[in-house]
């Protein structure tokens, strides 16, 4: 599926966050998660070193967590798009013919009434 390509911005030189679906949001949510977890831990314990460790862990977990969630939804959306496309094409192909499912439904309704 072709989408309009923006100028790429590659994080660490390889991940194009502008053109890869879900990448930008994952990194942003990851950063937010890192801030929340790190800051929260520091406010609770006043331990700088351990808070930094938690911040990095929070970044990785939040980023990957949102990534899987977003990609799963994207995959479901793609499946629905394909089914819709197939359904529209079949409707156009079979409309009025003996294979038309709407015709069969109408026929069933008439025979029931």
């Amino acid at each position: 599926m072709i989408s309009v390509r923006q100028q790429s911005f590659k994080l660490l030189g390889f991940l194009d966050v502008k053109n890869v679906p879900c990448a930008r949001e994952s990194v942003l949510y990851g950063s937010l998660g890192s801030l929340v977890v790190g800051l929260g831990h520091f406010l609770a314990t006043s331990r700088v070193r351990r808070s930094c460790d938690f911040a990095v862990g929070g970044f990785i977990c939040t980023m990957l967590g949102y990534w899987f969630y977003c990609r799963y939804n994207l995959a479901q959306q793609r499946i629905r798009q394909r089914m819709l496309k197939e359904g529209m094409r079949n409707k156009m192909l079979f409309e009025g013919s003996s294979f038309d499912p709407e015709k069969k439904q109408t026929g069933n309704e008439r025979s029931n009434s």
Binding site: M1, I2, S8, L11, L12, F14, L15, D16, N19, V20, P21, A23, S26, V27, C52, V56, F59, I60, M63, L64, W67, R71, A75
Partner: protein
């Protein structure tokens, strides 16, 4: 085809290539997570004073055993899914034979008519304006779009490889062996590829061009060629 200085994949024109691009994005995201962790640990190590006090490291050894196992599972599962998906053979609508020679391809459509032609690269001196250097051929493969196509690939002399990046296809052409691959093009268009196994002096000059068209145009083309 690829633009000049293009590093990324070409736009996917088959369902398998779409899956491969998605897997590639997934693998890069996992790589980003690992690189972030490694960068952080490296920074920590560089700031730390060296000491020889460590005698036991049970916890960290557990972590650096379990985490890589998790990473491998995250990468292996989608990879295997695509691997098996690539091996599925739907009943193909058309079977095409591609035979590699030094240094051109021969294509045979033998399903319904005995149709066979050679495909040579168009030399740069004969290239019309606006056409692509080292990629155009005199006779393209024409296939119907949105139909499963099976390609049987072999070679006449030395090893070659039939590759079309936009369709996610690359299969070796081995003399005395028939290799099979299949694909479906999701949209009409012209897709370029090049021989991908070193085969002599003109290895770079035997491109592959696949033209995907609606069925009625494909029928018109095949009737024209076989008459």
């Amino acid at each position: 085809m690829a633009n000049h200085s293009q590093l990324g994949f070409q736009d996917a024109s088959s369902p398998i290539m779409e899956e491969l691009v998605e897997f590639h994005d997934h693998a890069l995201m996992v790589a980003l997570a690992i690189c972030s962790l490694v960068l952080y640990l490296l920074t920590l190590m560089l700031m730390e004073k060296l000491s020889s006090n460590t005698v036991d490291a049970q916890e960290v050894e557990l972590i650096w055993t379990i985490l890589p196992a998790i990473v491998l599972v995250l990468l292996a599962l989608p990879s295997l899914q695509i691997l098996y998906m690539m091996d599925e053979i739907d009943e193909p609508d058309l079977t095409l034979k591609a035979i590699g020679h030094q240094w051109y391809w021969t294509y045979e459509y033998t399903d319904f008519k005995d149709l066979s032609f050679d495909s040579y690269m168009t030399p740069t001196t004969d290239l019309p304006l606006g056409h692509f250097r080292l990629l155009e051929v005199d006779h393209r493969i024409v296939i119907p779009m949105e139909s499963p196509i099976r390609v049987i690939i072999t070679a006449d002399d030395v090893l070659h490889s039939w590759a079309v990046p936009a369709l996610g296809v690359k299969t070796d052409a081995i003399p005395g062996r028939l290799n099979q691959t299949s694909f479906i093009t999701t949209r009409p268009g012209v897709f370029y590829g090049q021989c991908s196994e070193i085969c002599g002096a003109n290895h770079s000059y035997m491109p592959i061009v696949v033209e995907s068209t609606p069925l009625k145009h494909f029928e018109a083309w095949s009737s024209l060629l076989s008459s």
